[in-house]
Symmetry: C2
Subunit: 319 residues, 2 copies
């Protein structure tokens, strides 16, 4: 077996221009841009909880970083760097090679550099902490939604959950949509460029990891606001199109793992939001309105109230 230091050197040290000091010292050194604020997010992925033990390591390397970059996107931040802590049952090179490839392909796309971390023997666990920067006061915080704001989501919803249910064998999918749905689940695309592009025009944002209802509720609670969503404007992933209406809704409202952005912006920003979507080639949909009245209300296109009771995924809930 290789030593811990060999592992780090072989798979995780890559050239890191612009970082004052990267892997190989007690700490990494980051020199923030003059006057910029540092955004920091941390996610831990556990085998058997967040992914199947036999998940393709290249996809896993991608996803582990993608979910963290998605948090930066939800602040409108520019990615800078990340640390990786990795617990592995054994130093298996046939796993490490594709894992590091998946990780670095995405990292390099966003000029996000690995600056430190830890490797240890133990049950498979991947913990990434990611760093970005935003100009002071410009971060898209959850507590900044205002009455009358439009509610927007990027991309499509429900694809990741449809793929998960397909893998579990609870639904069947048309062969034509299996690929895109699995890609949605296994290789989510963090909406980094969109987050940065809407930052000057939006008020609040969150990324959709637990499901639209649960995640939007965080914005509402922290902003002391309510909202109405028009369920007929939700952008259903193509994998859902032939499935029962109720199942579609469940996947879109509470499916989780979509890693799209949900953000609020004043009506006066509509043109700017659409232009940002056009520039970044990421579709956006206007799905509702922030209101003063607390709570989350669902209506259809005719304005008729709709009910939906399912809670979003919670790692410690008894559901």
């Amino acid at each position: 077996m290789s030593s811990e230091f060999d592992l780090i050197a072989r798979f995780f040290i890559r050239p890191t221009p612009g970082i004052t000091l990267g892997i190989g010292d007690d700490c990494a050194l980051l020199t923030p841009g003059p006057g910029m604020q540092t955004t920091i997010s941390c996610d831990m992925l556990v085998s058997g909880v967040h992914f199947f033990a036999d998940t393709d390591p290249k996809q896993l390397g991608h996803k582990a970083l993608a979910v963290n970059l998605s948090d930066l996107a939800a602040m409108g931040a520019t990615p800078l760097a990340f640390t990786l802590a990795l617990s592995l049952p054994s130093s298996d090179e046939t796993w490490l090679k594709p894992f590091s490839d998946g990780l670095f392909t995405l990292a390099e796309k966003h000029h996000c550099r690995l600056i430190g971390g830890d490797t240890t023997q133990g049950p498979l666990n991947i913990c990434i902490t990611v760093f970005g920067e935003v100009p002071p006061g410009e971060a898209l915080r959850r507590d900044h939604a205002r009455e009358g704001d439009d509610i927007w989501v990027s991309g499509t919803l429900g694809g990741a959950r449809a793929a998960l249910e397909f893998l579990r064998g609870t639904i069947s999918l048309d062969t034509a949509v299996v690929g895109p749905a699995l890609s949605h689940l296994q290789m989510p695309v963090p909406r980094v460029e969109l987050g940065m592009a809407v930052r000057p025009h939006a008020h609040a944002a969150i990324d959709l990891s637990d499901g639209l209802i649960g995640d939007l509720s965080h914005i509402l609670n922290r902003s002391t606001m309510g909202a109405t969503l028009n369920i007929d404007t939700l952008p259903a992933n193509v994998a859902l199109h032939d499935l029962p209406h109720h199942f579609q809704l469940r996947c879109m409202l509470a499916g989780g793992d979509d890693y799209e952005l949900c953000f609020t912006a004043p009506v006066s920003s509509r043109n700017a939001i659409i232009e940002a979507a056009h520039q970044t080639k990421i579709a956006v949909s206007m799905i509702g309105t922030i209101e003063k009245e607390p709570g989350l209300r669902l209506v259809n296109a005719k304005g008729e109230p709709q009910t939906f009771s399912e809670k979003s995924f919670d790692h410690f809930s008894a559901t």
Copy 2:
């Protein structure tokens, strides 16, 4: 069982003055001091690998942060904040309460604030990423040791390993020293104040987690230097005093887990180093010299060469 969000709110959200935005958004926001560099370090502790599964959770909360603060100390950095990712078999409050108490008691001592993290269900795993700051160019890097530097260590060596061997039943210890030795292993004191105090006077530093020989070798390799250590000047922990000489040496040179600082400083800094030790009430010992000739040589007080072959602890080595 409590939900993930309840867990975070109940045990991990404490007042955090000075942090622009802490737990509860997609990212935390840190506003670095004007012109300061951010130091970042990350450690992952796995149950059954880094600690026994039945370790007192209060001690574990302390140690999980202490090992990270020790990395900041080794850069001479001032602690600012940390993130905590926690994988738990169950949301057991009788474990979480003392764990968070141990963690926050140490954090508050160093004005180091929890600004974000993640909790999930899974095998017990604690991943902390810690943030500090240093003036530009002043960090105590591993690659800055120079020919003729004195080599210093803080505190005493070997106590943690003696305690571990005592717990394993391989040695017996006098009742009078069991307590201090166990405390050395279970509640290591990160040398944060000493690191900051010697920063203007020292060249290179590392904290002793794997063992003196292994850790000092990182400084030598990265500085392209060699060294001679005088083994008769090593500060033996009191727990070692009645044990065989070879066992003492093994604990001091390769024992690991001491979390003392090893640093190099020019001869002209001797008075300043001793003053820094006095100010911070942390003992220091001068144990050797940095030399141009590669390799690490051991001598006794008479200058006679000594041999020692044991490698330091490596999580993936086949030893």
